[in-house]
């Protein structure tokens, strides 16, 4: 593949070390921000809008459009803020880790461009506390960037002044939710905020704020350098750019690959992940982290982009797939997922904290062989109860996506648990060990 077809990972060092500032610049780094500084903020926003860039944090919201709601010009409230969302706690997701550890300067440059576009003066990298190596590398990259005069004021010989700080969090899924992240940065519990007002007009400390995923930000230097048309042309199907795709579970080669947006699911699974481990068959998969609907073997032709995965009844989410094989219990897997969501619920709305824990208890009963037909109706009811619009944030609607699709695709498995009064996948009586091999 032509190197410019995988811009985000093209220059990774084979030894896994981070690119230093000089190394990054030798590979063409910090040219994007220099270019961006010759454009007016509005022009950067238009460029990014034309590029078709959609947010890589899971929701796929068009990035340029998101920025267009930020008030610009001398009358706008100040300071304005930018936060790089590096909380990455969606189970099954491990893509931002690579960018944070291997190319911290690419992230910083992306942040500079985004900050320029919305005229932000202060930015935070909001990093999950467990990413210790990433923290060290970002800290070092920040020191290099400040020492080079790229941060801190009057940078690049222009009227560009940006402070970037690293904030390491202390572990809670809700911190990754846009407004929960803002509360966390303010030193409060990471409960979400009511919208409106939207963060673009009233966000961090009440000021206009943009929260953007790490991978989204890393696309920006390349869009500025090579143009909107080039970025669009990278995509194979409906959406633009490249995507960091991942696969975990019982495939031969779990891993992470930057590939054209819209690479078909089957190609990812067979060519890149090496297919299933010997003796196992594909049963289903979550295409983009824990909070996406299952897809099944009949979806292998689906191009993995926001538009097409949605047409297939799921969401691209984070683009890191979790593979379910035919020897792992789908009910047990969903039990594991709902236990996660119930635990990470912030407790604000009833459908979420009570509904998800209830679902988890029911699924636990199934795994113990104590499920009943009437429980399936209860699970359906919880799915409806947690639908979008009934809760304050997207955690609960996301939580029931794997549940509702499992009820649809793996209905026979639920019935087998009821009929046999045990988990048919389990040898012994071993905890939630449906996934043992």
């Amino acid at each position: 593949m032509h190197p410019d077809q995988r811009p985000l990972t093209r220059d990774l060092r084979p030894d896994g070390e981070a690119l230093s500032l000089p190394g990054y610049e030798r590979a063409g780094g910090y040219q994007g921000i220099r270019q961006a500084l010759r454009l007016a903020p509005q022009e950067i926003i238009q460029l990014v809008t034309r590029s078709g860039l959609r947010g890589r944090g899971g929701a796929g919201f068009p990035t340029g459009q998101k920025w267009s709601f930020v008030p610009l010009g001398p009358a706008a409230p100040r300071p304005k803020y930018l936060a790089a969302n590096a909380d990455e706690m969606e189970p099954g997701t491990f893509k931002d880790r690579l960018l944070l550890e291997a190319t911290p300067h690419q992230l910083l440059e992306g942040m500079m461009i985004a900050a320029r576009a919305i005229e932000a003066e202060i930015a935070y990298v909001f990093l999950r506390g467990e990413y210790v190596l990433a923290a060290q590398r970002i800290q070092r990259a920040l020191a290099e960037a400040y020492a080079a005069g790229y941060l801190g004021g009057h940078s690049f010989g222009a009227d560009f002044s940006l402070q970037i700080y690293l904030h390491t969090s202390a572990g809670r899924y809700m911190c990754g939710e846009e407004t929960g992240l803002l509360n966390a940065l303010e030193g409060k519990r990471a409960n979400p905020r009511a919208k409106p007002p939207y963060p673009q007009t009233s966000g961090l400390f009440g000021k206009p704020t943009i929260v953007q995923n790490v991978e989204t930000l890393c696309c920006l230097p390349h869009i500025v350098n090579h143009g909107a048309e080039w970025f669009r042309s990278l995509g194979l199907a409906a959406d633009a750019g490249t995507k960091l795709y991942g696969a975990s579970g019982k495939v031969k080669r779990p891993g992470l690959w930057e590939l054209p947006m819209g690479t078909p699911l089957g190609v990812l699974l067979e060519e890149h992940a090496g297919g299933m481990r010997d003796g196992l068959k594909l049963r289903g998969l979550l295409p983009g982290g824990a909070s996406t609907d299952f897809l099944t073997p009949r979806h292998l032709d689906v191009p993995m982009d926001f538009t097409n995965v949605e047409k297939a009844g799921s969401r691209l989410g984070t683009g890191t797939m979790i593979i379910l094989d035919d020897r792992t219990c789908p009910v047990g897997m969903v039990w594991n997922l709902e236990d996660f969501f119930a635990q990470e619920s912030c407790g604000w709305c009833t459908p979420c904290w009570s509904g998800l824990r209830w679902a988890e208890r029911i699924l636990a009963a199934f795994e113990r062989g104590q499920g009943a037909e009437s429980d399936l109706e209860k699970l359906d009811w919880i799915v409806k109860f947690c639908a979008p619009g009934n809760t304050f944030c997207a955690l609960a609607p996301g939580a029931v996506e794997p549940l509702s699709s499992a009820l649809r695709y793996f209905h026979d498995d639920f019935l087998a648990h009821i009929r046999e009064r045990r988990c048919p996948y389990r040898g012994g009586s071993n905890g939630n060990a449906g996934g043992e091999s």
Binding site: E88, M89, E90, P91, G92, T93, F94, D96, R97, R128, G129, E130, Y131, V132, L133, Y165, H167, T168, S169, A170, G171, R172, Y173, A184, L185, E186, G187, K188, R189, A190, F205, G246, A247, S248, G249, K250, P254, G255, L256, L286, A290, T320, I322, I323, L324, D325, T328, G332, M333, N336, L337, F340, Q343, E344, N430, G431, N432, A433, G435, E436
Partner: protein, 154 residues
Amino acid sequence: MLSADERREIEAEIPRYPQRQAACIDALKIVQRRRGWISDESLRDIAELLGMTLDELDAVATFYNLIYRHPVGRHVILLCNSVSCWIVGYSRLREHLRRRLGIDFGETTPDRRFTLLPIVCLGACDHAPVLMIDQDLHRDLDPAGLERVLESYR
């Protein structure tokens, strides 16, 4: 009482935010790094330093998975129990720890060498199953590999 060191390190975080309270996570982590956990006394001292009420700070402290409001052992084992690790055999690691150390989630060995806690997806699912001990990530573990890893934490 907070030590002079702790105070200095916390004060250094404050200017990065427009409000003192915003530094509370940093402060909790700074104190915990030195003392292992956050006692009621530490909580009071930090709240006072940052101009927060005790309730406000405790609400934050108890919200986070990585802030410990109870004493822990010399080393904390964070075992990932999320979905990808679950699929490829997290429970074998949990079982091994239960057998070798006699502890399950939330427990500390009698010699205070290890505390075992569950943790959500550590973002290393392509190397599942994984766990962290203190600041170190250990990947692609099976019981034998885990045994070797444990040996290096005394």
